[in-house]
Symmetry: C2
Subunit: 113 residues, 2 copies
DNA sequence: CTGTATCCTTATAGATACTG
DNA sequence: CAGTATCTATAAGGATACAG
């Protein structure tokens, strides 16, 4: 352990850790094109996600500098999420991956549930 | 459950499932540029991986059509792994992700261990 | 509305020994 | 050389109730 990986492999691992996980890709994708979404909107759009996972995922994305969290101190409270510039830099790749995924799914006859 | 996701989010999830996991990104990256690597070579290069995980990961990549496994029936046995055309289509994505990761690591002052 | 807290289940990965 | 098998540990995710 604690052996030095070569820089290339290390960065690949690093990036996957930052955008891996069950919901991060989807959330980044939903926030594309300067979408600004509220907590409740994300909760509906990211179907099946529990509040715990949504909060946890958003916090990680925020700590990693990919997502901006804006709190409006109103009653009832309003919290909006959007992509940072760093997060937006990932959009072309997410999109590339999405296109690849769609192609693969067609080849395999898979459907989305 | 069993609700239909919209196609875009579905494909993103699909793709992440296919290339997620702790070692898949690295292995795909190591097999770039038409590299052909033997089991033992991968075992050395993917530092810290156990034979169980290496085999498991390679099998999944093979089943997903990203990696080609070629068995040479010799003594001692020789098994070579390479990227399929489908797998090669992911290289730009992996590479961009790697560049992004390197940039982020520099910003944060992270190092590779 | 936007979360937390707690407990529980499942998925993923690691250690180690062994085989054709 | 290229794996398997078995067991264990840890991480990730899910269910549910509740709070500011």
């Amino acid at each position: 352990m604690n052996k030095k990986l070569n820089p290339a492999s290390c960065a690949v691992d690093y990036a996957f850790q930052r955008i891996g996980g069950k919901y991060k890709g989807r959330i980044i994708w939903y926030l594309n094109d300067n979408n600004i979404l509220r907590y409740g909107e994300l909760r509906r759009i990211v179907q099946g996600i529990t509040p715990k996972m949504l909060t946890q995922t958003l916090r990680e994305l925020e700590e990693d500098g990919l997502v901006l969290r804006t709190v409006h101190h109103e009653v009832p409270p309003r919290v909006e999420y959007s992509l940072t510039e760093t997060g937006k830099e990932l959009l072309p790749f997410i999109n590339h991956l999405r296109v690849w995924g769609e192609k693969q799914m067609k080849l395999e006859g898979d459907t989305c549930y």
